[in-house]
Each structure stands twice: as C-alpha cells, then as structure tokens.
Amino acid sequence: MNDLLIIITASLVAASCGLLGVFLVLRKMAMVGDAISHAVLPGIVLAFLFSGSRDSISMVLGAGLLGVLTTLLIEFLHKKGRLQADASIGVTFTWLFALGVILISVFAGQVDLDQDCVLYGEIAYVPIDLWITDSGINMGPRVLYIAAINLLLVIIFIILGFKELKLTTFDPQFAGIVGISATTWNYLLMGMVSYTTVSSFEAVGAILVVALLVAPPATAYLLSKSLKNMLLLSLLFGLLTAILGYALAWQIEGSIAGAMATVAGVIFSFVFFVQWTKRIFAKSYSKKSLT
C-alpha cells in the first residue's frame, strides 16, 4: 500500500513536470527552468518563517513570487545590464540558492528544513505524512493531495492556454500580431514552473525536479513531430520514469528521487543512441544502394 502511494505521488509529480517541461524545452528555456528550481529556495524558507509550517498556500505564493523574480532578474541583467545570457542565468540562480542556504542556517531552529531535503526531497515519507482534519479524520497523505492539485492545475493551464502557448512558443512575432502577448505568457509559464517546482519540492527536492522537467520532454522531442504527440509522449515517459525509478530505488535501497533522475537519463540515452545508430545504418545502406 505504501509503495503504491509513493508511486502514485511520484507519477503525479512526473506528469506535471513532463507536461510543463515540453514548453521549456521547445522555448530553449531549460536552463531558466533549472535556475528557477534553485532560486525558489529562499522563497520557500521565507514562506516557512512567515507561516510557521509547511502551509502549502504561503509556500506556493513565496516560491511563485521568487520564480517570477528570478525570470525578471535574468531578463534585466541580460537586457539592461547587457550581461550575456548564460552568465545572467548562472549569476542569478547561484546567488538566490546561496541566499536560501544561508537563510536555512540562520533560522535553523525555526525552519523545519535541512539541506538534504532541499537536494533530494523525502518522497519516502509520503505515506506517514498524513493530512488529518481538525475533527480528526484521516484524509491520507498530504503530499499526494498537493501533487494531485498541481497536476490538475497544470492540465487546466495547458488546455485553456493551448493555442496561446503554442503560438508564443513557435512564432512569437505572429502571436504578437494577432494580439497574444508573448511576455505575458512567458511569465505565466514561468509562474507555473515555479509553482510546480514548489509542489514537487517535498517529494523530489529542488534540484532533481529539473530532471523531471527536462528529461521526459527531451526524450519525447526526439520522437515526435507535433506538439500534441510530444505532450503525450512526455507524459508517458514521465510515468515510466516514476515507476521504473521506484523499482530501482527499491532494489538498491537508495534515494527514490535520485533513482528517478537516473532512470530518466537512461531512457533518454537509450532513445538517443538507438536513433543515432539507426541513422548511421541508414546512411551506410543508402551509400551501398548507390554503388
């Protein structure tokens, strides 16, 4: 039963990340997603301090704010400060992550967070971290609800904004002409990415969430020619990652999040190498048929 709960939670997280990540990969913003996942840390710590608990709403607000702030700061340094794009990402996220770790140390007594949890989450504790209502009814694992709500909102976001996301991703100029603001949708997407990062934070940690955001969409990108296909495949690879990752972690008794990231990387490498060798064979075949 516990295993099933963990797998379901992991699948929900992987699904949300996989769907959103498609747009990050297509917009060449994977590293911005990486930066956001690091930079929400101070937001999480501050939200902890203000609300005094792992109260989800203030966490989401704090981290969402930090996520958008990160995007703004990267853009500001790049456009106004004329700092090259890669360096503005690097400077911004390392600074905010350092700030987050410092805040954790300063408020060590008041904030129930440690550095390990930041790095790879505590999905193994999902079944024992229960949501118990004021009247004492056991509603089941708390993190499961967080992940489910997250996935629901991500799906709603993508369905409602499908046309806008698609247009601003593939042809921002045309989107501008027909009156869809690329900037607005960029910030909406980044806001969703930060929110997803925070929701997934307790399960997989702030850094490994990047693996789920990037690896399944990248694998799907190798195999698909349309956005809808890519979204579906990414979802599929996300679920596969969650299930196989859990199996691997169970086998060697290691971190579940770490195992999921490993599996995500292995799936990508597999697809990548198969395609590559297929191309090599196709090339040598066409050469032979010519002679």
């Binding site: 390392t94 600074w95 992550f97 350092a98 700030l99 770790v101 790879y120 990231a261 990387g265």
Partner: protein, 428 residues
C-alpha cells in the same frame, strides 16, 4: 575587530589552511572560468560541477575508502564524460544546448544522489564526509587538502600561462585560430580539462550546487571594469580571492554559518555592485550618460528652433512665446522648462514673462546646428544622391554629433555652398 586581526594574522593553523585553501581554489577556478565565460559556455561549468558527484561516489565504492586522489580521478572522469555527452547530444540530435546541459546535469546529479544514499545506507563507517561534496567543507580544510589544492592551482595557472595566447584566440576568434593552423579541437579539450580540474577542486570548498558561481560570477563582475583580458583575469582572481577570504572570516566568527554559500553571497554582491555602478558599463552610469546626451540634444534642438524663428521672420525684437517655439518644434512642457532653464544657465537665452530671447552666444550655437543640418542635407542629395524629401530625418540626428573637422571637410567637398536642397540659406 580583534577577531579580524586575529583572523588575518593567520596564527591559528586551522585558519591558515582554510584561508589559503579557499583563496587558492577560488582564484584559480575563476581564472579558468574567465575563459569559459568569454566563450559564452559558462553553464557548461554548472553541468560539470553536478556531474562530478557520481564520480566521487563511484571512486569511493570501488576503492572502499576516502582516498582524495582516487576521488579526484573519479570526479574528473564523470565530469569529463558529461561534457562529451552534452557535445554528442547537441551535434547528433535536434536537442538544443540548453536542454542538453539541463538534462545532463540533473540526471548525472540524480545518479550521484542515488549512489550517495546507497553508500550511506550500506553503513560503511568511513563514508561520513562524502556529502560534504554537496555543500563544500571550506571551514574544515586541513593541511593535506592544502597541498593538493596548491598543486592543482599551480598546474592550472601554469597551463593558462603557457597557453595564454592560444586560449585568448579560442575565446575571441576560434575561426581565425583555426585559419592560422591552431588545433582548435585540442584547445577546446584543454579548456574543458582545465574546467573539470577547477571544478573537482572547487567543489570541496563550496560544493556541487554553488560551484557554478565561482566559475561565472567573478568573470562576469570583472568584465564590467575592463575590456582587456589580462586585467580581467587579475580582477576576477582578486574578486574571487576576496570573497573566499570573507566567506572564511564569516564562518570563523559565526561558526554556525556555512562557508560556501557566504562565499557565493559575497562574490554575487561584488558582481551586482559592478553591474550597477561600474563607471563605464554599469547600468546606472549608462543610464546617466544617455540622460546627459538626451539633454544635450534637447538643448541643441531648442537653440536651433529659436535660430530658425529669428531667421524666418527676420524679427528684430527676437522675443518668442512658448507657443511659437512649440509650434515650430514639439517639446513637452516639462522638457521645454527644463531645457530653457539649462539654456538660461549657460547664457544662451533670457526669459521674461513666458517669453524667450536668444542671446548672441545662443544664436551662434543655434546657427551652427542649422548650418550642419543643411550642409548634411546637401551632402545627402548631392553626393549620396538621395531624394530631397528623404534627407531631413538623418540630418536631424547627425547634426548633434558632427565635429568641426567633419564640418570643414563637408564644406570643402560641397564647395562652400550657399543653399541647401530646400533652397534655404546655409548660414555662415
């Protein structure tokens, strides 16, 4: 204060190791980072930093103990593999570089975490301390670490010194480097190896996650103070060394504070200060220069407008109302007030009862602008052969920046003309 003196005197052996170790690490890593920064490949350093973790763990698993040499070798190998993997994915598939980097760093790091937790659960007693690679252990450097770091720092510096010219070419103009017969691929391999070495040592001070800051941030800060590579290298090294020192000092006085994040905090503050306040490239100073330039142009335009008014109406009184000025050339109220005030201070105009009078000095300056404008219009129609109705806008911009030398050459080229293309007199 006594704390600081005590700290700086380096009397305490532990303090000495920590201070010298972090300074060595930080400055040598930042020098390598400057080259990757200039090649616009800074995020590759971030990927390498994350990717050394599985190497550290594998070395430990195979060796069974925490032998620094093996751990460095293991870290070097997986760090290197990650760069090859990124390069391969970008070249052999439609995946873009940012995705390849994010993918590699997160999955390699995840694999590292998996191994780390596996080692921790397997209960090997000597594993304690492996997780120091995550956040660094600058505050716990000891003598033997120092010798290792010193060796690597010296190797890095010597290699950079020996290949200075080649690395410089590689950073600024790889095509030219290739054309004069340099082995660019080998040089890139060299730079990658240097980065991996810098990362492998650097993570012991600040940890995997923040290592990128040491490669990127000092170089980015230094870039704002100079256009010359040698100065940039020295500045980056100094910024990095200073932040290492400050980080060590902070965790010396406040033992609860983590050294690595404080080092990154200090270097980031230096960088943000540079981005905003550096005298030439800073955001504030550039904003200030643009503002100053705008005001100078507004003043030019005001004097030009007043001169044109006197010229057109051949008026003797030469007092003009605000409406007359705005009718001739549009100014917002605020702009006009501000520019008039400026012109008054410089003695170009006098103001009375919302009326403006152009003084002799103002007239002279206004006349010059009008002359330049008409000269350039004539140049555009006569020499560049543009239609007369297409030349005004360009002339309106260039009139503010033509120097007396260019003015003389224009006049000579056009044979000291009297009239512009619109049959207006060119004043002298």
């Amino acid at each position: 204060m006594t704390d600081l003196l005590e700290f700086l005197s380096l009397r305490d052996a532990n303090v000495r190791f920590v201070v010298l170790g972090t300074i060595l690490l930080m400055s040598s890593a930042s020098i390598v980072g400057t080259f990757t920064f200039l090649k616009k490949k800074s995020l590759l350093g971030d990927a390498i930093a994350h990717a050394v973790l599985p190497g550290v763990c594998l070395a430990f698993l195979l060796q069974g103990e925490k032998d620094p040499l093996w751990i460095m070798i293991g870290a070097f190998i997986t760090g290197f593999i990650s760069t090859i993997f990124i390069d391969l994915v970008v070249r052999k598939s439609k995946i873009k570089e940012d995705t390849a980097i994010a993918l590699t760093l997160s999955t390699f790091f995840g694999f590292g975490i998996l191994l780390l937790t596996y080692i921790q659960k397997s209960g090997n007693a000597s594993q304690s301390g492996l997780d120091q690679f995550l956040f660094g252990k600058a505050a716990a450097l000891v003598g033997s670490d120092l010798y290792n770091f010193a060796t690597i720092a010296v190797i890095l510096l010597v290699v950079v010194f020996l290949f200075y010219k080649e690395l410089k070419l590689l950073a600024f103009d790889p095509d030219f480097a290739r054309s004069i017969g340099l082995k660019v691929n080998l040089l890139e391999l060299l730079l990658t190896s240097l980065s991996v070495m810098a990362v492998v040592t650097g993570i012991q001070a600040v940890g995997v996650v923040l290592m990128a800051a040491i490669l990127i941030t000092p170089a980015a800060a230094a870039r704002y103070w100079t256009d010359r590579l040698p100065i940039m290298l020295v500045l980056a090294a100094c910024f990095a060394a200073f932040s290492g020192l400050s980080g060590a000092y902070i965790s010396y006085t406040l033992p609860r504070m983590p050294t690595g994040p404080w080092i990154v905090m200090v270097i980031s503050l230096i960088a943000f200060f540079s981005f905003f306040f550096s005298p030439q490239k800073g955001i504030i100073s550039r904003w200030w220069q643009i503002r100053k330039y705008r005001h100078a142009i507004a003043l030019d335009n005001l004097l030009k407008t007043l001169y044109q008014l006197t010229e057109k109406e051949a008026r003797t009184d030469k007092w003009f109302s605000f409406e007359e000025i705005i009718r001739k050339r549009f100014f917002t109220d605020k702009q006009l007030q501000h520019t008039l005030q400026k012109a008054k201070n410089k003695g170009f105009v006098q103001c009375k009862n919302e009326q403006v009078y152009l003084t002799a000095a103002g007239s002279e300056k206004g006349q010059r602008i009008v002359k330049l404008h008409r000269l350039f219009e004539l140049y555009l129609t006569e020499i560049v052969k543009l239609a007369p109705d297409h030349v005004h806008d360009t002339a309106d911009k260039i009139e503010h920046i033509l120097t007396p030398e260019l003015e003389a050459r224009l006049e000579e080229k056009l044979n000291y003309p009297d009239k512009d293309p619109h049959d207006a007199k060119i004043p002298r």
